[in-house]
């Protein structure tokens, strides 16, 4: 790809990008949120038409007039946004657009068998080809997306943040698949915000910044600091913020208290507390019930039994409004479907939970609303810094910031974060960590879920380890090692 440009109304997403991928290599694409990575791969997949530049495939310039054209050339893509059809089964999704059929009649047996084979090769034989995709967890859906990409005869596999919704053991699985592909001479274009992954799997790295290639074809061993500097254009340390002395924890007031919370099928007998100024991390496998616990605490799910108390007052079960009034905020795991009003502006998305603050007898003071929301957005350095942009057009990381800004504006006693850094770039991640820390320091009790164990250990004061809906371990984060947590998560009983 040479000199690719792509312009959206109001945004120049790509501004002369060069990229070169060789057969049999894993080429990583790095860049901050909104750098244009997804846009670039959509151009590559024929989903967007570039406004300039040229695509060379096997030495020949080509024009990809649509997704089908790209697929014909052997380019298959796993998109960042889950691109599955909920109403269809797993098998139908995998073969959508290139159905196994004769004279238009689908061959259902063959389709199911082929789908089963693909899923097995991905290490997920438990996903049945006949289940509806809508009933799968995000992680499982990601597997289905991968199976779909593999169902094509591929020469270049493009993966846009495939690991974002996966836990570590599943990332291992993913890597195995990637290695198998490259061994067959397939090129892989891999996008991730996790440096460790790039180091583990990548051969070469291209770095994008603001829609431009700032470094192409670097060896994967390039030091992190150098890569980050390229991405952000700034030097600096990106790491977890300092934990304040663990000493204070005992004296601080209990803010959130969860007692014997139970929802059959999801979690059992969950008891824990979070103090003011404390950050508690929940670790566990996909499907271990972490999101459900957050939802139950937040009142979005009604638990079968158990109590949730905030500042000593019990919350009525299953009532989000009451929880919000008591000062609880939730940044859910699926931003697009659970948190954002995609077509609305950033301001409206940020202010939605605090409207009554800017209103008198229901009458909105829009000036104040705008000022306050914009202030939070600026604080978080949301890019582009246009508070009237529709959230839909923001990159994933910036969408996450918008959700956080919402609760920042509201001012919470308890903040529940479900996978807060999913899809967030390294730089922004560090900012988020600092922000969460700062919030905690201001007295907020933070409970967060993450599938990245280092994040749990690095950010949290205390960690809870969950397995199959039960808390199997609780300890100071500082005293835990990554391998311990992984063992706990997998087997449970070992100390």
């Amino acid at each position: 790809m040479r000199g690719i440009t792509k312009v959206f109304p109001g945004a120049r997403a790509l501004d002369g990008v060069d990229l070169e991928v060789r057969a049999g290599e894993v080429h990583c694409l790095l860049g901050q949120n909104g750098a244009g990575k997804s846009t670039l791969i959509k151009v590559l997949a024929g989903a967007h038409q570039p406004d300039g530049g040229e695509l060379v495939w096997d030495g020949e310039p080509v024009v990809l007039s649509g997704p089908t054209a790209a697929m014909r050339h052997g380019i298959s893509t796993i998109y960042q946004e889950l691109d599955l059809v909920d109403g269809l089964s797993v098998a139908d999704n995998i073969f959508l657009g290139h159905e196994r059929a004769r004279f238009g009649l689908t061959r259902r047996g063959e389709t199911a068998a082929a789908a089963r084979g693909l899923l097995r090769s991905l290490g997920h034989p438990e996903i049945a080809p006949g289940t509806g995709v809508g009933s799968l967890s995000p992680a499982q859906q990601q597997i289905v997306s991968m199976a779909r990409a593999l169902s094509h005869d591929t020469r270049l596999m493009v993966m846009d943040e495939p690991s974002a919704v996966l836990t570590q053991d599943e990332v291992g699985n993913l890597f195995r698949v990637v290695r198998e592909l490259t061994a067959r001479g397939v090129a892989v274009l891999y996008i991730s915000h996790r440096m460790a992954e790039i180091r583990a799997i990548g051969h070469r790295v291209t770095v994008l910044k603001d829609g431009r290639t700032v470094a192409a074809g670097l060896p994967a061993s390039t030091p992190t600091a150098q890569l980050v500097a390229l991405m952000t254009g700034r030097e600096g340390v990106y790491d977890f913020p300092e934990r304040p002395g663990a000493a204070g924890a005992g004296e601080r007031a209990q803010v959130l208290r969860v007692e014997r919370l139970r929802l059959p099928g999801s979690f059992e007998d969950v008891t824990f507390t979070v103090h003011a100024g404390e950050i508690v991390g929940l670790a566990g496998l996909v499907g271990s019930g972490r999101s459900e616990i957050l939802h139950a605490v937040y009142g979005a799910l009604r638990p079968a039994s158990g109590t949730v108390t905030v500042d000593g007052k019990a919350l009525p079960p299953g009532r989000v409004t009451a929880a919000v009034r008591a000062g609880v905020g939730l940044a859910p795991e699926e931003r697009k479907s659970q948190a954002l009003f995609l077509h609305d502006s950033v301001v409206r998305n940020v202010s939605v939970s605090s409207l009554s603050r800017f209103a008198r007898f229901g009458w909105l003071d829009r000036g104040r609303e705008r000022a306050a929301a914009t202030a939070r957005v600026t604080e978080l350095d949301l890019r582009p810094a246009d508070p009237y942009r529709a959230v839909r057009t923001l990159s994933g990381g910036n969408q996450q910031k918008a959700v956080l800004a919402r609760w920042l504006l509201r001012g919470c006693r308890v903040l529940l974060l479900d996978e807060p850094t999913r899809g967030v770039d390294v730089g922004a991640r560090a900012e988020l960590y600092a922000l969460v820390r700062a919030l905690a320091d201001s007295g907020v009790a933070v409970l967060f879920v993450s599938s990245e164990v280092p994040e749990v250990l690095g950010l949290a004061d205390r960690a809870l380890v969950l397995r199959e809906g039960r808390v199997v371990h609780e300890a100071d984060a500082a005293s835990l090692k990554e391998s311990d947590v992984l063992d706990l998560v997998m087997e449970g009983s070992r100390p």
Binding site: L84, L96, L105, T106, G132, L136, L263, A300
Partner: protein, 366 residues
């Protein structure tokens, strides 16, 4: 607004093997997250037991509920009127359902594909009028059949082109078409009923085979064909995809716009066939035929469990929906209820039917 407020039925954790029949091929492993996710309420109603849900695609569970409604209506009919459970009456109900049934097949495709067709009634009118003009009737049976279907297809095609390539919202396009097509029908017929003089044509409605009118066979054939098309062909799969997630469909290489055109074309053809049936039934073509059929067919589709937003649905459900409505009307007439009571009762029965389906869904675990 979610199913989460109602605790899920307790599962027997001790008997995972209980599921392992042949149907269990589709069973998820324990620990697989069942679908609590954010699906904004799409399936909210259907809280079927997981085991059952695994065995039957959701749409079918829903249809099962509707079948129960139908049986209940049958019980009411039988107890209130001795004439209900006679062969003749069943045939009358089926024949009454035939026209709207065929229209509903097309409507189901359109709605699953993410659209809506408000012009079905008007298409029926214009096809019926056109195929009964003196000039057309002079070509006899074949000429009339051909005209009706071609007119239906042409209007459907126009709908599809305006929606897919003209990018006008389906609701507006087909609303405009509803006005225009009926206007054309009035213009052609000069607002007079045009009596059919071709006898073989009228025989479509009178001829019977094994005591059942041809019309019923015709509807059955179209329903079966429609079902196969929807559930057993790539066209059907792609219809779900186009309606459920058009962007994903596009990325999967489906020609979304062309597919959309085909959906409305299909609906137009169904209307053409329905026009033949209705014209033969009433032995005349008129510009006021098919009045409000759009509401009837959409209501049948929705009560049959198809999402108005598209992407999910069942043809069997739609047809059961049509049968429910036709049966209600039949029972009303058998019991000689007055119009006002009929209307009040109709509303109540619709609500009851939906609630009953929910109840049925909730309590049906294997």
């Amino acid at each position: 607004m979610s199913d989460r407020t109602t605790p899920r039925p307790a599962q027997d954790p001790g008997a995972p093997g209980a599921d392992t029949g042949p149907g269990a091929a589709v069973t998820a492993l324990p620990g697989t997250p069942p679908p609590v996710k954010a699906r904004p309420g799409a399936l909210r109603g259907a809280a079927a037991g997981p085991a059952l849900r695994r065995l039957l695609p959701l749409a079918q569970v829903h249809s099962l509920g509707l079948l129960v409604v139908l049986v209940l209506l049958g019980v009411v009919g039988t107890t209130t009127s001795g004439n209900f459970l006679t062969g003749d009456n069943i045939v009358t109900i089926l024949t009454g359902a035939a026209v709207i049934g065929v229209i509903t097949v097309g409507q189901t495709f359109v709605i699953i594909g993410g659209g809506i067709d408000l012009s079905v009634g008007a298409i029926v009118a214009v096809a019926s009028v056109w195929c009964t003009t003196v000039a057309t009737q002079s070509h006899g049976l074949a000429g009339m059949l051909f005209t009706a279907v071609v007119v239906g297809a042409a209007v459907g095609l126009l709908n599809g082109l305006l929606i897919a390539y003209g990018r006008i919202v389906a609701f507006i396009t087909t609303l405009a078409m509803m006005a225009s097509a009926r206007g054309v029908a009035e213009r052609i017929s000069d607002r007079q009923s045009q009596v059919v003089t071709v006898d073989s044509f009228n025989r479509i409605a009178t001829d019977k085979f094994l005591g059942i009118p041809l019309l019923v066979y015709l509807m059955a054939a179209i329903v079966v064909l429609g079902w196969l098309l929807l559930n057993r062909t790539t066209f059907g799969r792609r219809t779900f995809a186009v309606g459920g997630n058009p962007e994903a469909a596009r990325l999967a290489g489906i020609a979304v716009r062309r597919h959309t055109v085909l959906l409305y074309l299909l609906s137009g053809v169904c209307c053409g066939v329905a026009a033949v049936m209705l014209t033969a039934r009433t032995t005349s073509g008129a510009s006021n035929l098919g009045n409000l059929y759009e509401l009837d067919s959409i209501a049948a589709v929705i009560i049959g469990g198809t999402l108005l937003a598209g992407g999910r649905g069942s043809l069997v459900g739609s047809i059961l929906g049509v049968l429910v409505f036709t049966t209600i009307t039949n029972i009303f007439v058998l019991n000689n209820l007055t119009t006002d009571i009929q209307e009040i009762a109709k509303g109540l029965i619709i609500i009851a039917a939906v609630l009953l389906q929910r109840f049925q869904g909730a309590r049906s675990p294997a």
